[in-house]
């Protein structure tokens, strides 16, 4: 997890920084063979493997593993897809939303899973990729549903606002729907993972440095306290990771619903 710059040495403690997220490739010379990209692929395989196995032996009375898979799938299906999009259209989007939630969740959880310990979406590019897909999805649905002009009107003209002020509102609505949405979607996920991971590195490495590289007992004990805090922060991160996965999925569903809605 650490790069060479963070190994405590005689020159003193080097605080962790953005460089800690630029991991070298495991082999070759491409960013695609670096740890984050490999984790991304592994997570997709794991998510699919989990659902594939738990959905195989389908019985009315589910086994334990099947129950877990079913609960996960059913949670996104019912509590997110159906409740937000509505029972008429939601089924088409269930695979997308299930994939979104569990893909992001597992990649986030990588941040605190021992030995892996890298939240994949702390690499902004991955978050951009998902946000671009969501952007294409909801705009595509809107255009498919209302036609291009109809969708533009749907997006830019909120119901309940009339008169000359509408002229001023139109560019604002357009900006917030078409441009701000994907950016905030990507940045929210990325920034949370990035900051959380940075915090964890700081507390772990700082604690380790204080504990091992200091002659003073006071510093050593502060180092122990810092390491304990790092554990506490790990639990906080677990919460953040869950919430971010859920928020990303929920917002995707809300955007789909907004594009499908008859009126704004």
């Amino acid at each position: 997890m650490t790069t060479t710059g963070q190994v405590p040495g005689a020159e003193g403690f080097t605080p962790p920084g953005p460089g800690d997220f630029n991991l070298p490739p495991v082999f070759g010379d491409s960013v695609l063979f670096a740890k984050p990209a490999l984790l991304l692929v592994v997570s997709a395989v794991a998510v699919f493997g989990f659902f594939f196995v738990t959905s195989r032996r389908t019985a009315l009375v589910p086994s334990k593993a099947q129950y877990v898979g079913e609960q996960g799938y059913g949670f996104i299906r019912n509590s997110v897809a159906r409740d937000v999009i509505g029972s008429q259209h939601f089924l088409k989007f269930v695979p997308w939303l299930v994939a979104t939630f569990f893909f992001i969740l597992l990649n986030n959880l990588f941040g605190i899973i021992p030995l892996i310990q890298f939240p994949t979406f702390s690499r902004s590019s991955f978050a951009y990729g998902l946000a671009v897909l969501v952007w294409l999805l909801y705009n595509g649905i809107g255009i498919w549903k209302h036609g291009l002009l109809g969708y533009l009107r749907h997006v830019t003209m909120p119901a309940g606002i009339t008169g000359p002020i509408l002229v001023l509102i139109i560019p604002l609505e357009f900006f917030s729907t078409v441009l701000v949405r994907p950016v905030t979607l990507a940045l929210r996920l990325f920034a949370n993972m990035f900051a959380g991971h940075l915090l964890l590195i700081l507390f772990t490495l700082g604690g380790e440095y204080l504990l091992l590289n200091s002659d003073k007992v006071l510093y050593n004990s502060v180092g122990v306290l810092t390491l304990i805090l790092a554990v506490a922060i790990s639990f906080l991160e677990l919460l953040v990771q869950l919430i971010q996965a859920y928020v990303f999925t929920l917002l995707t569903a809300i955007y789909i619903q907004g594009a499908l809605a008859e009126d704004h």
């Binding site: 010379d29 695609l32 997709a44 998510v47 659902f51 959905s55 902004s124 671009v132």
Partner: protein, 181 residues
């Protein structure tokens, strides 16, 4: 490798995207969506549908059972009340019949008694006629014997005559009890 190590020293902006990573994320995610849609969703949806059906089917079955039971109970109550009416009717009939029978029996008894009475009367009448006829012949014989006796004894006086007649009547009076029975 050198690129990444070189990046260590420079100012790194984590917001700057790497095209390769964006494409990787897009491709991996789309494949995941497709796989879930193709291999996971049908199975789960089928299970959900089957379970829904099982629950709703069970409910429907229970409802049908309940309706059946209700119908049976209704039928039973109907039958019971019919039976009750029937019993009441039968009782009423029996009472009427009993009353009629009593009346008929009474009439029969009266008829019988009247018949017996009239029979007895007729018998008595016949016996009476018989006795009268006997009496008549006997009275005749007696009268003849009395007359003979009166003539034979040569009646001297009135007192003697009267005694003779009285004796004769006393004989008569003692006789019929023997003869009549």
């Amino acid at each position: 490798m050198s690129r990444f190590l070189a990046a260590e020293g420079e100012e790194i902006n984590p917001l700057v995207p790497h095209t390769a990573e964006i494409i990787l994320a897009v491709v991996v995610f789309l494949i995941l969506v497709w796989l879930i849609k193709k291999y996971v969703m049908p199975s789960f949806e089928q299970t959900f549908a089957a379970r829904t059906e099982a629950i709703e089917g069970g409910l429907a079955k229970a409802e049908a059972k309940q309706a059946e039971a209700d119908a049976a109970l209704d039928e039973l109550n109907k039958r019971l009340s019919e039976a009750r009416h029937e019993a009441a009717r039968i009782r009423e009939d029996a009472r009427e019949q009993g009353a009629q029978i009593i009346v008929e029996m009474r009439e029969q008894a009266q008829e019988e008694s009247a018949r017996i009475t009239s029979q007895a009367n007729a018998q008595i009448e016949a016996q009476k006629q018989l006795v009268l006829a006997q009496l008549k012949t006997e009275v005749g014989t007696l009268a003849t014997s009395l007359a003979g006796r009166i003539v034979g004894e040569s009646l001297e006086d009135e007192a003697r005559q009267r005694r003779t007649v009285e004796r004769f009547i006393a004989e008569l009076e003692s006789q019929p009890s023997r003869q009549g029975s």
